[in-house]
């Protein structure tokens, strides 16, 4: 079953327990930083009088996984988008392409890797909730199956229409994500990207890439055809020599006798 998180901005008290628990769980060095980095995979930020979490959204069709040339990033059936640092060669295309600007890099290391939330993939596989969800004292981060979480979010919005915006952030954004958010403050004011397309960006490149085999065949035959015709023209011209206007060119290697 595909698991995920539901973050309820109206419940978050900004204590930062999730960020600390994440550091501990994933053995990340240093203190919790202000913004997410390769060493801080989730943060809590105060915006417009509300608190919002920043973390990987774990897209259903992840852009990062689609662009990675060595398939170091991939979506697991349990929901997390995981990263294999042993494969990564550091092209940083995932950082460039991610619609949520999630992957971060170890700029200070001679042998750097990417860092991002992996939705506690190991724990989730064992059936346990993520460390951040377990640590949350206010039930602001809820762990569950994506389908259940959507049901729960809809229920909260329905039961308290004045208390929420009628929108589940992540239900359709960039083709849908495993981490979703509900709030009473507009999402763009919380610093979340708006106007994201409802279809995964990965489809746009696949439209081009999937045509390559056809293209190679047609273009290859065309080019050979051009060569065949133009070369044949030379053969014909040699068999039936005609006086050519380009006089000085022709008698280069044949002396007139």
């Amino acid at each position: 079953m595909s698991m995920g998180l539901l973050f309820d901005a109206t419940r978050c008290v900004g204590c930062g327990a999730c960020a600390s628990a994440c550091k501990e769980q994933n053995h990340l060095p240093g203190e919790v930083e202000e913004r997410t980095t390769a060493y801080t995979w989730t943060t809590v930020e105060e915006k417009e009088g509300a608190y919002v979490r920043h973390l990987c959204m774990h897209c259903l069709v992840p852009t990062c996984a689609s662009v990675c040339p060595v398939a170091a990033l991939k979506k697991t059936p349990e929901g997390p988008v995981v990263y294999d640092s042993e494969k990564c060669m550091g092209c940083r295309y995932c950082m460039m392409a991610c619609p949520f600007d999630v992957p971060k890099y170890q700029w200070d290391r001679a042998v750097p890797i990417v860092g991002k939330c992996i939705l506690c993939a190991g724990r989730v596989k064992e059936g346990k909730p993520t460390a951040c969800a377990e640590a949350c004292p206010a039930d602001a981060t809820l762990f569950g199956s994506r389908a259940d979480l959507i049901k729960e979010a809809k229920k909260r919005i329905r039961e308290n229409p004045g208390g929420y915006l009628d929108h589940i952030y992540g239900q359709t954004e960039a083709g849908g994500t495993s981490v979703m958010m509900i709030s009473n403050v507009p999402f763009e004011k919380l610093g979340l990207k708006k106007d994201l397309p409802g279809e995964p960006p990965a489809l746009r490149t696949w439209q081009v890439l999937s045509n390559i085999p056809d293209f190679v065949a047609v273009w290859g035959v065309f080019l050979y055809g051009v060569h065949w015709i133009t070369a044949r023209r030379d053969v014909v011209a040699q068999a039936h020599p005609r006086p050519r206007p380009e006089g000085p060119e022709a008698p280069k290697d044949r002396r007139p006798s």
């Binding site: 460039m96 890099y105 200070d108 890797i113 960006p201 293209f215 060569h227």
Partner: protein, 387 residues
């Protein structure tokens, strides 16, 4: 042989350039050491908000693009059979080859763990444009090496392997054109994935086509520039009868490209940015003036096209505009979404300039010691006279 004799006399101030090159080389070595001991953050202005900078925008995108003269001219000579262009094929192939070596060396700096570059061979992800780029770089560099190999082989008297390559030239050239078409366009496809980040003056589903056509235009521009530079360096005459028709082809390529760009901007409703002269609007105007308007207008006139200095001006403008375009796509167009301005650090510039300098030095040396510009003898056994 005659070139070697004229060489020392034509240099007015040899000490200056040698000194400059030496200083640059030392700086380049220092930056290299810092890069590989302290990491990318110590030498670049790259950050989590701006992960791709000068080394991708200039070294990779422009290095590959300006190497496009190689596949264009090999196609013209070997596939379209326009044999009169034969004398400028070798310099074009040499530029292409050095351009790709330049790109690979730049990647050695830009990749976080360049010693893993071979991972693309074993860990496949056909959904990734970068995967396609990696394979095109590898395969096309191989093709260029084989296309250039006869020059080296013949110089040292290995005629048999050279003859084998000559026999394989048609499939080799076709492979080269195919790979180049894929590679040039795939560099544009890299940016298809960022519809919400790249500014509407540059984002389009047609990016792969734009990158392809503009590379053909600028690649031809590079061929013209090289002929001019080698003329200056070696006191050769400019083959105007060859460069003039090439300039015409460049006008057509850039003209089509310019029209398509304008249509796309209209469709993206982005003309407002140009009218309002925003930062992006100004950068677009610079790019479009240099890369399309000036070369197309200048070289549309036969009088200017057949005049060496105007021809070179037009070609130079096209190449400059091409570079600005690639930097606009990779830097200018991405800055608004990133929320920060990216300006390359001095050390990033030193690496790029150092690599360009290295490439030019190797080009100059190769031209001096190998038969690149001299008329080279056709391999006689291929066409016996008895026919």
């Amino acid at each position: 042989m005659s070139t070697a004799a004229t060489q020392p006399a034509r240099r007015p101030w040899p000490g200056f350039w040698t000194a400059l090159f030496a200083v640059l080389f030392i700086a380049f070595c220092v930056v290299t050491v810092i890069r590989f001991t302290k990491g990318l953050g110590a030498v670049t202005n790259l950050s989590d908000r701006f992960p791709w900078g000068l080394w991708i925008g200039f070294d990779l995108l422009c290095g590959v693009g300006l190497a496009a003269g190689a596949f264009t001219l090999t196609a013209v000579v070997h596939l379209f059979n326009l044999r009169k262009f034969e004398p400028i094929v070798r310099p074009a192939i040499l530029t292409g080859f050095l351009g790709y070596i330049f790109v690979i060396m730049a990647l050695m700096f830009d990749l976080g763990q360049p010693w893993r570059i071979w991972h693309a061979l074993i860990y496949w992800n056909p959904h990734s444009v970068m995967f396609e780029v990696a394979w095109c770089v590898m395969l096309y560099t191989t093709v260029l090496t084989m296309e250039f190999a006869p020059v080296v082989l013949e110089r040292f008297g290995f005629h048999a392997p050279s003859r084998i390559i000559h026999g394989l030239i048609t499939p080799l050239v076709i492979a080269g054109v195919l790979l180049s078409t894929l590679h040039q366009s795939s560099l544009g496809s890299l940016y298809l994935i960022v519809p919400t980040k790249l500014h509407p003056l540059w984002y389009s589903q047609l990016l792969p086509l734009f990158f392809y056509i503009s590379a053909i235009g600028a690649g031809i521009g590079m061929v013209i520039l090289e002929s001019y530079m080698s003329k200056r360096a070696f006191g050769r005459h400019l083959e105007m009868e060859l460069l003039e028709p090439l300039a015409r082809a460049m006008v057509v390529a850039l003209g089509i490209y310019g029209l398509l760009r304008l249509q796309t901007i209209a469709r993206n409703h982005a003309f407002g940015d140009i009218g309002a002269l925003t930062y992006e609007g100004k950068m677009f105007l610079l790019e479009f003036a240099l890369g399309v308007v000036i070369p197309v207008v200048l070289l549309s006139f036969q009088k200017l096209r057949t005049n060496a200095s105007w021809l070179v001006t037009g070609a130079f403008s096209a190449v400059l505009g091409f570079v600005v375009n690639r930097l606009n796509v990779s830097v200018t167009g991405m800055e608004r979404a990133a929320g920060i301005r990216y300006i390359p650090s001095l050390m990033e510039i030193i690496v790029s300039v150092g690599l360009v300098g290295l490439g030019m030095a190797v080009f100059a040396l190769t031209v001096r010691y190998f038969p690149i510009f001299e008329p080279h003898p056709e391999p006689e056994p291929a066409d016996p006279e008895g026919a």
